[in-house]
């Protein structure tokens, strides 16, 4: 593919060069934050790590379509890429990882990956899988009732579609043409349970049964995800209703730092997927499009490295949450 051909793809999508590079840098940032989290875990400093590695393409491309602080987002625990696009910083992530008092998600109450930001309209998330879907439809309904053009992005792994809550939300969204995008990050495993024991038929294929579009998209192809979600967001904003997007990708790490994935995954399989790493693939695209050379790459890498190091250090120095804080903020004041 020559440069011109390559560029045509993102230009058609309305993406400028700076958009492309910003997305790249955000993906890289999410990856490097994640890698650093594992180091802190191995050093005994972080009790628990849950990863976005492998999902960065889906996440950054999807979130890049949103208006932060206006649209609402219900992320799930892997969505470091999404929350980073919206405006959460590496510092935020490390403060949360290390359960610091300043942790913007929860003040040290929740595990890492349980995002929350009132300012960014990232709705507080939790561990029970699937509960976010009905909530997201309610938030979308509020937009519709008030005649606003906000949209709601709600995400989950493929196993989250097995919960009744997912179905109840799909049905409700379909009945009322709600402005909600269901983004399923299908990484083939739910902890150890493989897709064939988790999903009958096809996730994307189910949307038709609810009367709205469902798309399966290669989750490691950043521009493909961007395109699909762009269309979905447009539909939602125009009041045309929900869309289901199933992005197929792969979890490059164990489920979490408590998991040993060698129990249930062949190393070959993991290595094969590593070759499809969305960041590497996206780098190729950028190179082909003439947007990334070794120098720029090194520059970006360096900027990211610094940011991560600074943020990690900051969080390590930051004070722990106070014991008595365990008792605070149970009820909102009247």
């Amino acid at each position: 593919m020559d440069v011109k051909e390559a560029r045509a793809r993102h230009e058609e999508l309305g993406l400028g060069d700076d958009d492309l590079l910003r997305m790249y840098e955000t993906m890289l940032l999410a990856r490097r934050v994640d890698e650093r989290m594992w180091i802190l875990n191995r050093q005994g400093k972080a009790a628990f790590v849950i990863s976005c590695q492998g999902h960065e393409g889906v996440q950054v491309a999807a979130a890049y379509n949103l208006r932060p602080g206006y649209d609402y987002v219900y992320p799930y625990y892997r969505d470091f890429g999404i929350t980073t696009v919206l405006g959460q910083t590496p510092r935020d992530h490390f403060l949360s990882l290390l359960a610091r008092k300043e942790d913007p998600n929860s003040g040290g109450r929740q595990m890492p990956g349980h995002f929350s930001s009132r300012k960014l309209n990232i709705v507080t998330s939790s561990a029970p899988v699937g509960v976010q879907y009905p909530q997201a439809t309610g938030t979308a309904l509020a937009f519709k009732v008030r005649g606003e053009d906000g949209v709601v992005l709600v995400t989950g792994g493929e196993a989250s579609t097995s919960q009744g809550d997912w179905h109840e939300a799909m049905n409700f969204a379909g009945i009322h043409d709600l402005p909600v995008i269901f983004l399923i990050e299908n990484n083939v495993y739910a902890i150890s349970v493989p897709e064939n024991l988790q999903v009958a038929g096809s996730i994307a294929g189910r949307a038709a049964g609810y009367g709205f579009p469902g798309h399966e998209v290669d989750g490691n192809d950043v521009l493909a995800v961007y395109e699909t979600v762009k269309e979905a967001v447009g539909r939602a904003r125009r009041g045309e209703g929900p869309t289901l997007v199933e992005a197929r990708t792969y979890r490059l790490t164990a489920h979490s730092s408590d998991d040993d994935d060698r129990r249930y995954r062949e190393r070959d399989e993991v290595e094969n997927w590593r070759k499809k790493d969305p960041i590497v693939r996206y780098e190729h695209y950028l190179e082909e499009a003439g947007l990334l050379d070794e120098e720029t790459k090194e520059e970006i890498e360096e900027r990211v490295r610094e940011q991560v190091a600074e943020a990690s250090d900051y969080a390590e120095q930051a004070p722990l949450a106070d014991p008595e804080e365990a008792l605070g903020r149970v009820y909102a004041e009247v």
Binding site: S116, Y133, V145
Partner: protein, 328 residues
């Protein structure tokens, strides 16, 4: 002031809040055109339209989940669960989600929703239209659980619930809906969610109760006063979680004899918590064991009338429990 039923009072409270605040919505099964299976929401859809008074699919988890989502985006939803017996599918959204948003986000996200829950035994209701399920929710910090038993209080507390920034479960006894009437103030008043109420003063025994049994306790109190000269202090908790401990304890200490009556299966009911509280904090004042009366530990009120009558705490059982305590 005209006398109004519990049902009318709740209806009015809802309608007034909707008129006063555009963000107040109603959602649930059959709440729209049909006005709810008990007719609590009758006329509201005509007045406020199908978006603010919305018939949902038959899916309780969705109803509460959507209410949560509406509330974080500026609305004040009042969700109806058609019968208390059908609240279990929504259990996760209530106890793990609504109750924890505020705490888990360190105070960033609160969930101002009200969930209305008709409960209690009615003839013909049988195992699945009769349950008193309140205890399921009274071990969950972050949640408010109220169960007013009189029309005026119910109206005032519903308004407080709608305005409260926290999730409130609002229990309404189905049998009281049309049976219990009283005069209701005409002005816009509200009743706090956290205050127990002393319905009757008395120096001999203290009885705490709510729902239909409260009404029976009050009748029994009048009877035993007249027939046996026993004066009962009768307290309604109003809020089952958190409890207004002070008011309950004051009444317990006053008489030294304490009884809790409810319609729920006795073991594991809210009565246990109230009894434990009194046993702990009023011990030095007690002249008798803390007593409880409830339904037996069998699933729920059966359909056959004789079995149902045998199951619920009857006026006779209530009266004799009160006399037993007085004579202890």
């Amino acid at each position: 002031m005209p006398a109004k039923s519990l049902l009318q009072a709740i209806h009015e409270g809802l309608a007034e809040e909707m008129r006063a605040d555009e963000s107040v919505m109603v959602l649930g099964e059959d709440v729209g055109h049909a006005g709810g299976v008990f007719r609590v929401t009758q006329g509201l859809q005509d007045e406020f339209g199908p978006e603010r008074v919305m018939d949902t699919p038959l899916a309780e988890s969705l109803i509460v989940g959507a209410a949560i989502g509406l509330s974080v985006n500026g609305m004040r939803p009042v969700a109806e669960i058609q019968f208390a017996d059908f609240i279990p599918p929504a259990f996760d959204q209530i106890v793990n989600e609504a109750a924890r948003f505020y705490y888990r986000s360190n105070g960033a996200w609160n969930v101002p929703i009200t969930v209305r829950v008709p409960y209690g035994v009615v003839p013909g209701g049988a195992l699945y239209h009769s349950q008193s399920v309140e205890a399921w929710f009274c071990n969950t910090p972050g949640l408010k659980v109220v169960a007013p038993s009189f029309p005026a209080d119910a109206k005032g507390m519903l308004k407080s619930a709608v305005r409260d920034p926290n999730p409130v479960l609002f229990f309404e006894h189905k049998k009281a809906y049309r049976l219990i009437k009283e005069e209701i103030p005409e002005d816009d008043y509200s009743v706090p969610l956290d205050r127990a109420k002393v319905h009757r003063q008395g120096g001999d025994i203290t009885v705490v109760s709510y729902g239909m049994t409260l009404h029976q306790v009050l009748e029994a109190a009048a009877r035993i006063s007249e027939e046996h000269g026993v004066e009962a202090e009768v307290v309604e908790p109003m809020s089952l979680y958190p409890l207004d401990r002070e008011t309950i304890l004051e009444a317990a200490r006053k008489t030294g004899k304490f009884l809790v009556v409810s319609e729920a299966n006795l073991t594991g009911s809210v009565s246990g918590e109230i009894a434990a509280l009194v046993a702990r904090e009023a011990f030095e004042w007690l002249d008798a064991p803390v007593m409880r009366l409830g339904a037996p530990d069998t699933p729920a009120a059966p359909f056959a009338r004789p079995m149902m009558d045998f199951f619920v705490p009857s006026p006779e059982k209530i009266e004799s429990a009160m006399l037993e305590l007085a004579r202890y």
